[in-house]
């Protein structure tokens, strides 16, 4: 069995049918223009791959772009429909100061969301700024792991400098109990993301993303930069399976990651155990 920690809940038909603006925003702001699919399609993909649980991610871009894709409440609603197989994350905008802190506490206490998703270059905030540090402090207190977009984003609305993985070295050292996952292995800054991960035991990486082609082509390119030996011996307990669905079908990413030429115990850790270590009790 496996866990997918990187699923975007933007093109779920149950949400877009009631909220046409979400469909418009997914297309115009998140640059994702595939057709909405019912929640049952996601659950069907999970069944096909033997994925027991997945993490649903929202992105709160209300200040930057006028949209929550989707809202924390909508994530919570999907989790309740997900046959106990969906884990909901929250998203807040650190630039909103005290309101963001309130949102984060409420999403944890009232909505039962388990972690925090941030995408600095889409939300247009400085991840090393004072307001973001307040959010990290609160997330650490609430024991909410953070999954942060690092590396390339196709949308060029805001500066990509906020997506650099090296930013999280200082944050990880300052908040040593805060678990941080650098999504997409920071592609194309993969070695920078790896270096932050190697020196900070509270930092993880996820496999999500297909920036270099198909999942197989992307992983082939990554393993040409970071050898399988380094993955097995150094990142084996910190690399987590994530698909980036619906930017890529879950089964395609699952097949590519689970076919990596790695030791069986390391593959098992990547596909499941490391996600459990990152998520804690979910």
């Amino acid at each position: 069995m496996a866990i997918d920690i990187h699923v975007h809940a933007v093109l779920v038909k149950e949400l877009t049918d009631n909220r046409p603006d979400l469909l418009r925003d997914a297309r115009e702001l998140f640059d994702l223009r595939t057709s909405p699919q019912p929640l049952s399609t996601l659950l069907g993909e999970m069944d096909e791959c033997g994925i027991e649980r997945c993490v649903l991610l929202p992105i709160n871009c209300e200040r930057a772009l006028g949209s929550k894709m989707p809202s924390n409440g909508e994530i919570s609603e999907l989790v309740s429909r997900g046959e106990r197989r969906l884990v909901g994350f929250s998203s807040v905008d650190p630039s909103m100061g005290k309101d963001a802190l309130t949102d984060l506490r409420q999403s944890h206490d009232a909505l039962g969301l388990k972690g925090l998703k941030l995408n600095p270059a889409l939300q247009n905030f400085d991840p090393g700024g004072v307001e973001a540090l307040e959010i990290y402090r609160e997330a650490e207190k609430l024991e909410m792991p953070i999954l942060v977009h690092t590396g390339l984003t196709f949308s060029n609305k805001f500066s990509i400098k906020f997506n650099h993985p090296l930013i999280y070295d200082d944050i990880a050292r300052k908040h040593s109990k805060l678990k941080i996952c650098l999504a997409h292995m920071g592609w194309p800054w993969v070695l920078d993301a790896v270096s932050v991960t190697v020196r900070n035991p509270n930092v993880y990486l996820d496999t999500a993303g297909t920036f270099a082609g198909t999942p197989t082509e992307t992983l082939r390119q990554i393993t040409s930069i970071v050898s399988t030996r380094v993955i097995e011996n150094t990142l084996g307990d910190r690399l987590i399976f994530g698909s980036d669905y619906p930017r890529i079908e879950m089964n395609k990413m699952f097949n590519a990651v689970s076919s990596l030429p790695l030791r069986r115990d390391v593959l098992d850790a990547i596909m499941r155990d490391n996600a459990i270590a990152f998520l804690g009790e979910c």
Binding site: T34, Q37, S40, G44, G213, E217, P246, R247, E249
Partner: protein, 143 residues
């Protein structure tokens, strides 16, 4: 001569799957009230095909496996690049090629309100990039 056009929704559960749709097509045709003419079953997608074949589960597996073997996934496809129309990487050229080999529609005669099919013939939607929920059009031309 009249035209009646209806839509159907079909859900797949595997990446490559033959789904029997004869019963749904028959019900849809009956609901139009048309008795004689031709029925066209058309898929609205570029990574699905429509075909008619024998309704044997093992043959369904054979066809699915042969399509996968015939058009391999791990090739150097020109389609595989950032695809602005979708806002993501295009990674499924093989699904499109498989779909092209099958075709997007079949036409079946309609006589006295019944689809004229051989005893072994079954209509299939072939999903080549599932699992997904797919849309079909059933159009009856006749009277």
């Amino acid at each position: 001569m009249k035209f009646k056009t209806e839509k159907l929704s079909v859900k797949s559960s595997r990446s490559t799957e033959l789904i029997r749709i004869t019963e749904e097509v028959c019900k849809t045709v009956q609901s139009t009230g048309m008795k004689n003419g031709i029925v066209n079953v058309f898929t609205l997608h570029t990574t699905t095909g429509i075909t008619i074949n024998e309704d044997d589960t093992k043959l369904e597996e054979d066809i699915a496996r042969f399509m996968v073997k015939l058009v391999p996934e791990d090739e150097s496809y020109a389609h595989h690049r950032y695809f602005r129309k979708d806002g993501r990487m295009a990674v499924n050229a093989y699904s499109h090629i498989r779909a092209s080999l099958l075709g997007a529609n079949v036409t079946i005669p309609l006589q006295d309100g019944v689809l004229v099919l051989g005893s072994r013939q079954n209509i299939y939607l072939v999903d080549l990039d599932g699992p997904q929920t797919r849309g079909l059009v059933v159009q009856v031309v006749g009277e």
